[in-house]
């Protein structure tokens, strides 16, 4: 055995080190493909932003009255002269999102705490699957639920004239945002090292005391990020809001007012405009506004998550 070993060593040719064999080519191809996959996200986001921005640029710079845009609640792009006051739309989107969060935050944090800290085994797995399924329901289905289930229910319960209102949209959007928030919040809870729970339990803490005094404070950054991403989701949602909110340009004064969201306005009106006219361009300004808001929200969420990771290590 040893003899043959030395034998081969002596006779063996040195393997070439400059050959581009199959493995090399495969590696090269894979690297290239993955590289373009990776930077495509950057390319897309930059080009989308440029597209939206340039479409509305001429109007935004030369003819739009910015003071009116942010302070006037009157959005009448087709009357003459047209009026482009986005305040009611901004308030509509903001109020729907706020209400949605009031509904979604307790739901999703409760669900995340139950799944992450109390449920075990099969029950936990099933709940996670169901919640992910809930996140996969198309938004138009939610819109139909708002239109035909929650709308009539609100009319019956509160004896109001129209069920399509801020409250309806808030409920729908809250339910839509809750699953994704639950998933992210549960990840944040699971990232809390189990040794902390063990330590607290060994000191005689009940499960709830462990959650309240140890797990939640430690997971707070991740939980805030979950809430922020939920808000981002609520800001960006279109079709369900369009169907459930009533789509009336009103400064909301109660939860039973019909309201109109920025997104829904773009969706409903863009088809009626002539490409390139002022109305068309005004809608793109709304688009830039939305883009900016969701961008800031997501960026903040990301910063919070990264910050907490750095702190943890």
């Amino acid at each position: 055995m040893t003899l043959r070993h030395t034998d081969t060593l002596a006779t063996k040719q040195t393997a070439p080190v400059d050959q581009r064999d199959r493995a090399w080519w495969l590696d090269f191809t894979a690297k290239t493909v993955v590289f373009f996959g990776g930077i495509s996200a950057i390319i897309f986001i930059v080009s989308i932003f440029l597209f939206i921005a340039t479409q509305g640029l001429d109007f935004a710079v030369h003819r739009l009255n910015w003071a009116d845009f942010f302070t006037s609640p009157i959005w009448r792009p087709t009357s003459s002269p047209p009026q482009y006051g986005a305040l009611a739309l901004i308030c509509g989107t903001a109020s729907i999102s706020l209400l949605a969060m009031l509904i979604a935050v307790p739901f999703s944090l409760g669900a995340a705490i139950y799944i992450g800290e109390f449920a075990s085994g099969k029950k936990r797995e099933w709940l996670k699957i169901l919640i992910e399924l809930l996140a996969a329901i198309p938004s138009v289905v939610w819109g139909v639920i708002g239109l035909h289930v929650i709308g009539p229910a609100l009319v019956n319960i509160f004896h109001i004239d129209i069920g399509l209102c801020l409250l309806n949209a808030g409920i729908i959007l809250g339910l839509m945002a809750a699953p994704i928030m639950t998933t992210i919040a549960e990840d944040a809870l699971r990232a809390v090292p189990d040794t902390y729970r063990e330590a607290a339990e060994a000191l005689g803490a009940t499960r709830w005391q462990v959650v309240w005094r140890v797990v939640l404070p430690h997971a707070r950054p991740g939980l805030s990020a979950a809430v922020l991403l939920g808000i981002g989701r609520a800001f960006g949602e279109t079709i369900a809001v369009l169907m459930a909110s009533g789509h009336a340009i009103v400064m909301p004064t109660s939860v039973f007012d019909s309201v109109r969201a920025l997104t829904a306005t773009v969706a409903a009106e863009l088809g009626e405009t002539a490409q390139g006219d002022d109305h068309y361009q005004a809608l793109f300004v709304l688009g830039v506004l939305l883009f900016g808001i969701t961008f800031v929200i997501n960026l903040t969420a990301d910063r919070i998550i990264r910050g907490s990771r750095r702190q943890a290590t």
Partner: protein
């Protein structure tokens, strides 16, 4: 002979025993980790548990405060009396059991809170009357003094405990047990994550706590068991093989397995 000695110890019962396990069996799923463990641990002394990895010593320790039950798949039969209470009786609550017993883990595991909040954590969990800040300050100082940490941390009690050195963290983990005045401390290889110097500091600390506390300590380190314990329990494959005074066991072990393990023939 060792059985007889144990039986003698078990007979008077009650007051003199901190832990008394009777026919304790434990399964992780289908794996039986403890077989008919009968063990009596006297109050006020340091008892070391030794044995090769997987022999059940940690499992037994973790049964005493039922922290084992955090794993969902643990099943036990038999009973353990801790400080006279049957911790496995139907009426016993694991939470209340744990409040009587302090536990130190293998890796120092201070909570991600300030040093002060770590020391006060247990006492804040179940206080019935209002406690003033002054009371708390006294509690913190005396607990930290007892583990010889006070002088090193008194100026930075609000600092996060996870920033301390491992030795300081482990001392803090012992200090945080003291305000609720447990009489029994369970230690699961408390020095295995520490360097030799820190190990000797913790050992000194354990020895200084002896008398006021009953200490049951699991260790892999034979020399440590020899140095820092009054009695020694040798376990093998989920069974108690020998339980004797440390000086006796290390000089004249009664059982062949004990002798083999102590002399390093396996383990």
């Amino acid at each position: 002979m060792w059985r007889a000695a144990l039986a003698e110890k078990t007979q008077p019962a009650g007051t003199n025993l901190a832990i008394e396990a009777i026919d304790q069996n434990l399964w992780y799923g289908s794996f039986q980790a403890l077989h008919e463990v009968n063990l009596a641990v006297e109050r006020g002394i340091v008892t070391a548990m030794i044995g090769p990895s997987g022999c059940g010593k940690s499992t037994f320790l973790r049964s005493c405060n039922r922290i084992n039950e955090r794993l969902g798949y643990v099943r036990t039969t038999g009973t353990i009396h801790v400080l006279g209470f049957d911790v496995y009786s139907k009426d016993a609550s694991a939470i209340q059991v744990r409040r009587q017993i302090g536990m130190v883990f293998q890796r120092p595991n201070p909570l991600p809170l300030s040093i002060r909040d770590n020391v006060l954590f247990a006492s804040r969990l179940h206080r019935e009357r209002r406690v003033t800040r002054a009371d708390e300050a006294v509690m913190v100082e005396s607990a930290l003094r007892e583990v010889l940490l006070w002088d090193r941390v008194k100026d930075r009690l609000d600092q996060k405990a996870t920033l301390l050195s491992l030795e300081e963290q482990q001392k803090l983990c012992i200090a945080r047990l003291l305000p609720t005045k447990p009489t029994l401390l369970l230690m699961d290889e408390p020095c295995s994550a520490l360097d030799p110097e820190a190990t000797s500091a913790i050992e000194d600390l354990i020895w200084s706590l002896r008398g006021n506390y009953t200490i049951l300590i699991v260790t892999h380190n034979m020399a440590q068991a020899r140095r820092a314990s009054d009695e020694c329990v040798f376990m093998l494959l989920g069974r108690v093989i020998e339980h004797a005074r440390t000086d006796v066991m290390f000089v004249t072990p009664a059982r062949q397995e004990t002798a083999d393990y102590i002399e390093g023939r396996f383990g």
